[in-house]
Structure formats: structure tokens, C-alpha cells
């Protein structure tokens, strides 16, 4: 058999799952969609002694609107997020991103919480969560806390969660009026992990100048990379082609420090970051201007 032996637990509530997690500590693993965890178990790169299956916990499957926020339970399937009308209305950037994650057959099973918790540097959702200022609701047997997406990602496949903690829910603030957004990535084949991707959110002031901007990359660092210098250049400027190009150039040359792998070298990744940065900022600014004019 491919994976090493483990004991299997199928809790029905979050409280039960948290108790099991505390019991097993580092030896236990939560099983969400299994679309990242099971491959690593099949390779025996991961050999947990206990699997705590979250698929039977009904309270973790939901999408709802709450105080102008989008709330998603950790076990909500990626396919459901992709197709849900509330997601499209409140968090259009998230909606636009979903079809880029893997293939339909993977999204049928993969979950939003699993992807956010897995913290793969090439994954779309962590970068989009940072771009949108999402908040992660994390619980353990003794504690419950909200962590801002930007503080949640602390390194390669690493999050601010402790071993006995689990991600229960994620909240995305409503897309503000007068703000625009865009997502782009380049992958060798549709559904493959991207060689570089970018998400942007831009807000304009009454005079059409950039009031706030956030540009976040993935697949060019150890986790989502926020292009702060690029954003600082853009704020206060009129969003014309020249200003956007200068910002994207700064992002590609200063804000990121990509390493190479078999799919793309660092120079090519920088090149992609410049091109994609320019595209997403342009489209985000256009959408923001369009929203202003309405």
C-alpha cells in the first residue's frame, strides 16, 4: 500500500476534532479535501500516525453573508466557492480566481480551508486572501482567535497556526465601492500550478488618483509576496500607463526575489511578474474608475 499506516478518526463536531488534534499533537494530521495531503502520504513524505477527517463535520461547510462580509467555513469545497453567487457579489476577485486552481475534478474535493492552511507558495488562495485582507478564524481546545491573512503566512508551507490549532472559518470583507480588482497567472497548462501569478486591489479617490493599492504575487517566494514598494509608488498618482508600468517594474525588480525550479528560472519569473503586475494593476484601475463613474 502506498501510504504508511495510521489510525483514522471521523469526528462529527469541531470540538471533537480539536480534542483529537490536541491528543495527537504533531503526530496527527487534519484531512480536508486530501488533494495536497494524500499525494504527500502516497509518496510517504508525510507519515502521520493519526488522520482526523473533517469531511463529516457539517458545521464547517457553509458560505454566508454577515455584516457585509463573506464568511466561508473551512471545509467549503473549492468548486462550491467558484459557483456561489454570494461569493461573486461580495468578493469578485475570489470568484475570478477559483477556476485557475487545479482542475474541476480536484476542486470538487479540495477545500478553501485546506488550501489556505497548506500555504503552498504556488497556490492562488493565500495570495488572494492577503490581497483582500481576509481574516482567518483559528481555534484550539483552549483558544480562539482571528488572524489577518498577512500575518497568517510566515514562510514556506508555514502558517501562524500552532500544531493544536485548526482553521475553522475565513472572512472576506466586501469589495469596497470605488475599488477595482484583477487576477492573472501564467501556467504551462490550464490547471497546473502557476509559474507566477498576481492579484491586485486598487481604490481611487474622488479625483481619480490612487488612494490605496495592493499587489500580491504567488509562486515567486516562500508564500504570498506583497509588493509594498510598488504600491507606495502608485498611491497618490493618476493611474496612467506610465505610473502603472513604473510600479510593476519596481515590483518585479525590488519587491520579489524569486528562485528557479524546473518550471521557470528566476529571470523568467521576474519577467512574468512585471508583465502580470502591469496587467492586473491596469485592469484593477479600470474597474475602479468604472465603479466610480456609476
Amino acid at each position: 500500500m502506498k501510504p504508511a499506516a495510521f489510525s483514522y478518526h471521523a469526528p462529527r463536531t469541531v470540538d471533537e476534532a480539536l480534542a483529537l488534534l490536541r491528543n495527537y499533537g504533531d503526530e496527527g494530521k487534519l484531512l480536508a479535501g486530501g488533494q495536497s495531503l494524500v499525494p504527500t502520504m502516497n509518496f510517504r513524505l508525510a507519515q502521520p500516525t493519526a488522520l482526523i477527517d473533517l469531511n463529516g463535520i457539517d458545521e464547517l461547510f457553509f458560505i454566508r453573508e454577515d455584516n457585509d462580509e463573506l464568511r466561508c467555513g473551512a471545509m467549503t469545497r473549492q468548486r462550491e466557492v467558484e459557483r456561489n453567487g454570494v461569493v461573486k457579489r461580495i468578493a469578485p476577485l475570489l470568484h475570478e480566481t477559483m477556476p485557475h486552481i487545479a482542475h474541476a475534478q480536484i476542486r470538487n474535493r479540495g477545500t478553501i480551508g485546506g488550501s489556505l492552511a497548506h500555504a503552498d507558495p504556488a497556490a492562488e488562495l493565500p495570495a488572494v486572501a492577503v490581497a483582500l485582507d481576509a481574516q482567518m478564524y483559528v481555534r484550539s481546545v483552549t483558544d480562539a482567535r482571528w488572524v489577518a491573512a498577512r500575518d497568517f503566512y510566515v514562510g514556506l508551507f508555514a502558517t501562524a497556526m500552532l500544531p493544536e490549532e485548526m482553521l475553522v472559518e475565513v472572512a472576506f470583507p466586501q469589495s469596497r465601492s470605488g475599488s477595482g480588482w484583477a487576477f492573472e497567472e501564467v501556467a504551462r497548462q490550464h490547471g497546473n500550478y502557476a509559474m507566477c501569478g498576481a492579484a491586485a486591489v486598487v481604490g481611487l479617490d474622488g479625483k481619480g488618483a490612487v488612494e490605496n493599492a495592493r499587489l500580491v504575487y504567488f509562486s515567486v517566494g516562500e508564500g504570498p509576496v506583497v509588493a509594498d514598494q510598488a504600491a507606495a509608488l502608485l498611491v497618490g498618482e493618476q493611474p496612467n500607463a506610465e505610473a502603472i508600468r513604473a510600479a510593476a517594474d519596481t515590483a518585479a525588480s525590488q519587491d520579489i526575489d524569486p528562485v528557479g525550479d524546473i518550471h521557470a528560472g528566476p529571470a523568467y519569473r521576474r519577467h512574468l511578474a512585471g508583465v502580470l503586475g502591469e496587467r492586473v494593476l491596469t485592469r484593477a484601475c479600470e474597474r475602479a474608475a468604472g465603479a466610480e463613474g456609476q
Binding site: K2, Q105, R109
Partner: protein
């Protein structure tokens, strides 16, 4: 420690005692003898092992058999009514030479059945996007696309 599961596969119920680490793909092939579900990469990439879990296309190499307790699984063996009664989609693959070695075919068929139920008249682009989740080393995909287009038409004619 083994766990007892009861699962419905292609309409028949089975009760078996399994080790938790037994993958659904191996359960289907080795325990139930349903070798139509193929195993290529065993890490989710190739799509050869795709089956339906409660009607939804999923990778059987990324599920444990214990997770299917009380659930409904459909494999390629359940598609045809018999050797003389191919599913219209299978008929499309036959007519249009949508396969050469056939290793990828079961996973492609099982991905397509729910896809065509939701989207009975897909564009070529939509078909190609769906097929991105299944690797075929032989055909170059062109014949598969044609087979899907014919299969979609045959399904519609049958239900008309």
C-alpha cells in the same frame, strides 16, 4: 486496525473490512475486482483513476476507502448496459477513435458524464478545459474532443 465499511458501487452494496490506509482506487481494483478504474500516477495528476462519489467526479487515488462508508460510488463498469449497449458517450469514443491504448479512457469518461449532464452542449474550449484534468499519452486529444462532441450529441438525441 481494520474498519468495516458499507458502500454502494454501481448500484450494488458491498460490506468489507479495510485498513484505513487503503486507497479507494486499490479498494475498487483489488477488493472488488473492478479493474476498469486505472491507476497512473497515484498523486492526483493524471486523472486515470477518476470515479464518481455521490455523482461528483473525484480522484479515487486521493480518497481512502474508509471515507466512502455509506456513500455511492460509480465506476466505468457501470456505464454500459452490456457489450451491445454502450453508453452514448462510449459510442462517441468508439466511432471517433477517441482512444488508442485506452489507459486514460475510464477516467475521461467518468469526468465527462457529470460534465455533460450539467453542460449538454459544451464549446470546444470548455471540453478542452475539462480535459486538462486528464492526461492522455496517445491521442493528442484531437480525437477525444471529437468523440466528446459526438457523445454529447448522441446523449441529447437519446433523451429527446
Amino acid at each position: 486496525m481494520d474498519q468495516t465499511i458499507s458502500v454502494t458501487v454501481n448500484g450494488r452494496s458491498f460490506e468489507r473490512s479495510v485498513e484505513p490506509r487503503l486507497l479507494l482506487s486499490d479498494f475498487l481494483r483489488h477488493e472488488l475486482g473492478l479493474t476498469g478504474t486505472h491507476v497512473g500516477c497515484e498523486h492526483g495528476v493524471c486523472g486515470a483513476c477518476t470515479v464518481l462519489l455521490d455523482g461528483v467526479a473525484v480522484r479515487s487515488c486521493l480518497l481512502f476507502a474508509v471515507q466512502t462508508d455509506g456513500r455511492d460510488v460509480a465506476t466505468v463498469e457501470g456505464l454500459a448496459g452490456g457489450p451491445q449497449a454502450l453508453h452514448p458517450l462510449q459510442h462517441g469514443f468508439w466511432e471517433k477513435h477517441g482512444l488508442q491504448c485506452g489507459f486514460c479512457t475510464p477516467g475521461i469518461l467518468m469526468s465527462l458524464v457529470p460534465f455533460l449532464e450539467e453542460n449538454p452542449d459544451p464549446t470546444e474550449e470548455e471540453i478542452r478545459e475539462l480535459l486538462s484534468g486528464n492526461i492522455c499519452r496517445c491521442t493528442g486529444y484531437q480525437k477525444i474532443v471529437e468523440a466528446v462532441q459526438l457523445g454529447a450529441r448522441l446523449i441529447q438525441e437519446k433523451s429527446a
